[in-house]
Symmetry: C2
Subunit: 392 residues, 2 copies
């Protein structure tokens, strides 16, 4: 990851600069690919379903993977970490089962549609909701949170790190506030896991969802849900669990009660491979690398008067995600120019997060988003700056 | 598939005879593995999310895969075929959104927990339910269905082919009956797709769910949901769709409105590879091969007086799934003996389908289930018969 050479797309003769890691990381590390192949070659049978050795070995593989990934995410006990089809499923499980009609939740102005849309849906199901604004100033935001608490407030829904402007919310302080009022906390860690260190088990957090295919370096279709106590939620998807099959009522045991149907074992493998890659690199080194790229990019941007950068909070704690616009160019036009001139891949528009765009005042057209990953280099950042400098 | 040599497990020196294909097919065809590797090597970016060429190519790959798989399943228009995390998710989407409180559904005595548990959950949500018994005799069963119809009956929930006793329900006739009364039909095709020919689009069926990892020969974690008209259902999982991102309300467009979050693209690849393998073999040839194995097995079993076979319906239309018991042996003990003596993998117990066991009177302990796949051979069937013959 410390190489300064550009990343070449494997199936192309043309250099590609991939700055869309907040949508999904690319490329994936060799370890992720190798582990998918390992699963395909050496495992089979349906985990949790068969009594014969082959199926049991496969179940054991899944159990070990859960343990190793839980350890990496500081989740304990490891069976409280559930494999889902992605962060979105995890958010839906929690949001649609932990509140009763008439209760109240507070969500933030940084939410992605993975939480924003379930929250909107909950309104139609008789749940009261309030949006807390994001100023980027910790004390202000905590006071704003506290001001919205009602007698019936049951849950805080907190985007840990924004996929639009990279701001990291003060989750420990938010949890502390919630605990003072006996309120539960759900954190959307889709953007932060695999980048920030966060001790989930020690934090007092009640729920967290994770995406496998972003900074955790796995492939799409696998995610995780942490639940401190399963009594707080109910399964969203009912079906065969390989456990207590006689019951037509879904058994609420961890993890199988929340993992109905046959799991995505090759996805689990890819996530395990991704986590092993990160362990080898160390999260601190990954973070330092991506922060250095972000800092270099922001410094370069500040030299360009035509660029409007959307900054929330302090630079040093942010994610490697930068949203910008250039004068009155449509974001899509800037993205198209970046691709045309230097094969740079960035995302333009709303990035599935209209609430975050309300916060930075870009709801109409969105932004151009650059998001750096472990395989990006300073040279690539410089190419982007050089192209941006000529768009005036 | 016409080879008579035994299948060797790739990571073992010991021959393994895998007769648990109804749980998940094993091994997977080379095509499925190769397509997963193809996706990992050549695609990236988040399908449906980026405006740059690389993400668009990946979106195009997913779109083409959907088209090719829809064509194979006779689904039309192809965008009405949704990628899910498995058959279970598809069943949950339909069952939990197409009925209103106070309406009535009829389900069958062959349901798997993938439909049985959502149905049970619906009872707690104010939906009336009735179970239609399965006799295996078409006219009797159709009359039983009809007798249960009420003024408020909205839906039939029909297991197309049983994962316990292999009986194939007369779906075209059931659909015709439903249409006469203006009732919707949901079919669970987890066991039949990739084995039976069924023209989904022409059938008049309203909904069907499919498992990618059974006879369709992909890996776990990918499935399909067919919906004739999206107006009939609502998404179960709300989140980012890459479409109409400004809306906090989930857009109900096909397919993205029902595919919130990042899809399992390597899973899609595996399913596409599996389908291509089946197209090459032809379904007719696959069916002939697996039926021949089933017939040979049943003929051998009939020579063994200690074996109780659970047969429902006519032999010639059944799936390659056979449930049996031997005198008063516990099913788990028979399975253990089969493994000990000849490394035969079968499943013992309830197979996540207690309703089906009520039908054949094996609710207490379940059965020993043999399920044949495209890579099984006559020689393997003979080994199983020979082991069974000495368990007395």
């Amino acid at each position: 990851m410390t190489t300064t050479s550009s990343i070449y797309r494997q199936n192309s003769t043309k250099t590609m600069i991939y700055f869309d890691n907040a949508a999904t990381s690319y490329p994936k590390p060799e370890e992720a690919q190798a582990e998918v192949i390992n699963v395909m070659k050496h495992f089979g049978g349906n985990p949790g379903r068969g009594g014969y050795a082959f199926a049991k070995e496969t179940s054991q593989y899944m159990d070990n993977a859960r343990k190793e990934i839980a350890d990496f995410l500081a989740v304990n006990p490891y069976k409280n970490l559930l494999f889902t089809s992605g962060a979105t499923e995890g958010a839906n499980v929690v949001l649609k089962s932990c509140l009763k009609r008439g209760e109240h939740l507070i969500y933030t102005g940084a939410e992605h549609n993975a939480t924003g849309r379930p929250v909107k849906w909950l309104e139609s199901a008789g749940i009261e909701t309030s949006k807390v604004p994001i100023s980027g100033e910790k004390e202000t935001d905590l006071k704003a949170f506290e001001a919205l608490i009602r007698n019936n407030t049951r849950l805080f829904v907190v985007n840990h790190g924004s996929n639009v402007f990279g701001y990291v919310q003060p989750l420990p302080e938010i949890i502390a506030l919630a605990k003072r009022y006996g309120i539960l906390v759900f954190a959307d860690m889709a953007q932060t896991a695999g980048f920030l260190d966060f001790d989930v088990a020690a934090s007092g957090l009640d729920f967290a969802c994770f995406a496998g295919h972003k900074s955790l370096m796995g492939y799409g279709g696998i995610g995780l849900l942490y639940v401190r106590d399963p009594i707080l939620i109910r399964p969203l998807i009912h079906g065969g669990t390989g456990s207590m099959s006689r019951l037509l009522n879904q058994p609420v045991v961890l993890p199988s009660g929340f993992e109905a149907g046959t799991r995505n074992l090759i996805g689990v493998g890819s996530l395990l491979g991704g986590v092993r890659y990160l362990k080898k690199q160390t999260l601190a080194a990954v973070r330092e690398h991506e922060r250095a790229l972000t800092k270099r990019f922001l410094a370069g941007l500040r030299e360009l008067p035509q660029v409007m950068i959307y900054e929330v909070g302090k630079e040093k704690t942010r994610l490697p995600v930068v949203s910008l616009n250039i004068r009155d160019y449509a974001p899509g036009d800037v993205a198209a120019l970046l691709e045309e001139k230097a094969n740079i891949c960035v995302r333009a528009g709303l990035h599935c997060a209209p609430l975050a765009h309300e916060t930075i005042g870009t709801s109409a057209a969105g932004t151009v988003r650059f998001s750096f990953g472990v395989f990006n280099s300073e040279a690539e950042v410089d190419v982007a700056l050089s192209v941006l400098s000529v768009i005036k």
